[in-house]
């Protein structure tokens, strides 16, 4: 696809989604809620996608930033520093996770071996969960914090903010990956040692991508906090907030821009359906799905032959090499 077509497609799809509340009753329609969740997951998936695409590494700590963003709102509102849908609060809920990402990211990303990053981000989520359980009156302990749910008036602001987040995350990811820097990183990603030897300071950009990803995840957390009005560690620091976006990216196609979008919409639909039909089995199903996807569809939906043909897209390469062995050597 050409650049103009891509922008046109993005505007068209966004406009279509923006028009949905005109047709459906946003207060009663289940579809509006469904799209709200799907948009949130698109933003989270793009956040993970950006980090994977830029660093070539797997983050297992999306829930850390998501939960932190939610708690920024919960504590801020509880202490009456910020209010309902407070722009300052939402910016803070992105910035604070981003700062944490910089602090943790610099040492973790400077190691060349990827496992430290995956483990470190996983540990980060667990630490935050425990800290917020231990936080006493400020965080409400394991029961969490209740926010004044009487503030709720309409589903519409949630819908449009979520749509904005999804578009924002997609555009930012697209711009960062398409930038000349993004291409340079793609070129050196497979041979980091050589890049380091050539004096390319890729660490700076990796940390930047990690921070931007954390910013997006924090924003998603704040929106969920405003929606649920009850913020507690088990939910907001739950591993599902990391698991689902990974699954969505892998299924859709890691490293592509459309992949996470397709994966997020498709899987949100499946999860919502299975929540209704098979509430007990639902988490088993997501675990099984991740295993099956990696084994049988490692390149994602967007790299399937028929899909590529249909969209006549350029072949994109997955940044974290989920492909089966093709003969290329390290």
């Amino acid at each position: 696809m050409k650049k103009k077509t891509q922008i046109g497609l993005l505007v068209l799809v966004t406009a279509l989604f923006a028009a949905v509340p005109l047709i459906l009753d946003s207060e009663k329609s289940y579809y509006v809620y469904f799209l709200f969740m799907a948009f949130t997951f698109i933003a989270l998936s793009q956040s993970w996608n950006l980090v994977a695409g830029y660093t070539g590494q797997i983050s297992l700590g999306l829930h850390a930033f998501f939960g932190l963003g939610a708690y920024v709102i919960a504590i801020g509102w509880g202490q009456e520093i910020i209010g309902f849908f407070d722009p300052l609060g939402m910016i803070l809920s992105g910035l604070i996770p981003a700062i944490l990402a910089v602090v943790v990211g610099i040492p973790l990303l400077s190691k060349l071996r990827g496992d430290y990053f995956a483990l470190g981000t996983l540990g980060l989520g667990e630490i935050l969960r425990l800290v917020f359980i231990q936080g006493g009156a400020l965080t409400g302990g394991s029961a969490g914090l209740m926010l004044p749910s009487s503030s709720y008036t309409s589903m519409l602001p949630y819908y449009f903010i979520a749509l904005f987040l999804a578009v924002f995350a997609t555009v930012v990811t697209y711009l960062m990956v398409q930038s000349s820097l993004g291409w340079a990183l793609k070129a050196v990603r497979d041979d980091e040692t050589a890049a380091a030897a050539n004096g390319i300071n890729i660490l700076k950009y990796k940390v930047l991508a990690f921070a931007v990803g954390a910013f997006m995840a924090g924003l998603c957390g704040s929106l969920q906090a405003y929606y649920l009005f009850h913020i507690h560690p088990q939910n907001f620091f739950g591993l599902n907030w990391t698991l689902y976006p990974i699954l969505m990216c892998v299924l859709g196609g890691v490293g592509s821009i459309t992949g996470p979008v397709i994966g997020a919409i498709f899987l949100t639909a499946i999860f919502e359906l299975s929540k209704i039909l098979l509430p007990e089995i639902h988490p088993i199903f997501s675990g099984l799905l991740i295993v099956l996807t990696v084994i049988f569809l490692p390149d994602g939906i967007v790299r399937l032959g028929w899909f590529e043909k249909f969209f006549k897209g350029r072949k994109t390469e997955s940044p974290i090499n989920l492909k089966l062995f093709t003969g290329k050597e390290k």
Partner: protein, 298 residues
């Protein structure tokens, strides 16, 4: 104000920590072996341990089989399960690098935790044998029998794995493949073979850790995630790729936690062990017990 308890209490805490930590050590050795050949942290190790703990529990519950006697069932079944797991889930993706394997391990963990929750209910379980509360008293110290058994199992497991790696040809092949996979294939070692061996032993050790868990803890289906994290901490402390280091890392973590939970309220002790984990990952990822010259690869 800081209160320093008498020395015998401090020693008692130390011993508890050592006995406790040995169990983390067993789990960490399994992680270390799998990490050596496949370069992945097998996140589902904790879920495997809990699965084995359930095995022990049900054998005790339905057949009144003594938990320590159930080793003869649990250990071989775990080894076979590990071999099968590699063949079914990991063989196809093993050569594509570590990320597919890492994601599969992650998916497997979620799958097992929730499967156990549906099958066995989320209620906490524990094996209560006649000797569960029994303790050995000596020199004014009290040592729990089940924890002592867990410690002995850890020592035996460490010795067994060390001997296997040092004395048998396939064990040497595992060490060789962990160090240099390409050279290993050049002498005729099939990567799948060493991978499945390490998986078999790794999950076998998870079986042992499961027995130790069932006899000393009360556990539920989601207990494994924390156990995985603890085993990773032990591994990070001890240095990846060293069997004795993994055990020592586990013991160190046990001691840290033991003192931590004595001086602080329970939850903060965990925060401290995770913080230690993060600091080690960030600043000394080769582990505390590895001299930096040993960890360099040519």
């Amino acid at each position: 104000m800081f209160y320093l308890p008498p020395i015998d209490i401090l020693i008692q805490i130390l011993i508890n920590g050592i006995l406790f930590g040995a169990m983390y050590g067993i789990a960490a050795i399994g992680l270390s072996l799998i990490f050596g050949t496949m370069q992945i942290i097998f996140i589902a190790q904790g879920a495997m341990i809990v699965l084995a703990a359930y095995g022990t529990f049900w054998l005790f519950h339905f057949f009144s089989m003594d938990p320590y006697l159930s080793i003869i069932v649990i250990f071989p079944v775990s080894v076979i399960f590990g071999l099968g797991l590699y063949q079914v889930l990991f063989r196809r993706v093993a050569r594509a690098g570590k990320f597919p394997s890492l994601l599969i391990a992650f998916g497997l963990m979620v799958l097992l935790e929730n499967l156990m929750s549906v099958l066995f209910t989320p209620n906490p379980r524990s094996v209560r044998a006649s000797y569960t509360a029994y303790g050995i008293s000596a020199l004014g110290l009290k040592i729990s029998f089940t924890r002592l058994m867990a410690f002995i199992m850890a020592i035996l497991a460490t010795t067994g794995v060390s001997l296997f790696l040092k004395k048998t040809l396939i064990g040497k092949a595992v060490r060789a493949a962990s160090e240099n996979l390409e050279s290993a294939t050049l002498v005729g070692i099939t990567p799948h073979r060493v991978n499945s061996v390490t998986f078999g032993i790794g999950i076998g050790l998870a079986g042992l850790a499961g027995i130790a868990t069932a006899t000393t803890y009360s556990f539920d289906p989601y207990f494994g995630f924390v156990f995985s994290l603890k085993a990773m901490i032990a591994l990070a402390l001890g240095g990846m790729g060293s069997v004795v280091g993994a055990l020592m890392g586990g013991v160190l973590l046990g001691v840290l936690e033991s003192y931590g939970s004595f001086f602080l309220t329970g939850g903060w002790a965990d925060v401290i062990s995770y913080a230690a984990f993060m600091l080690v990952l960030m600043f000394r990822p080769e582990g505390l017990f590895v001299r930096s010259s040993d960890s360099e690869k040519p």
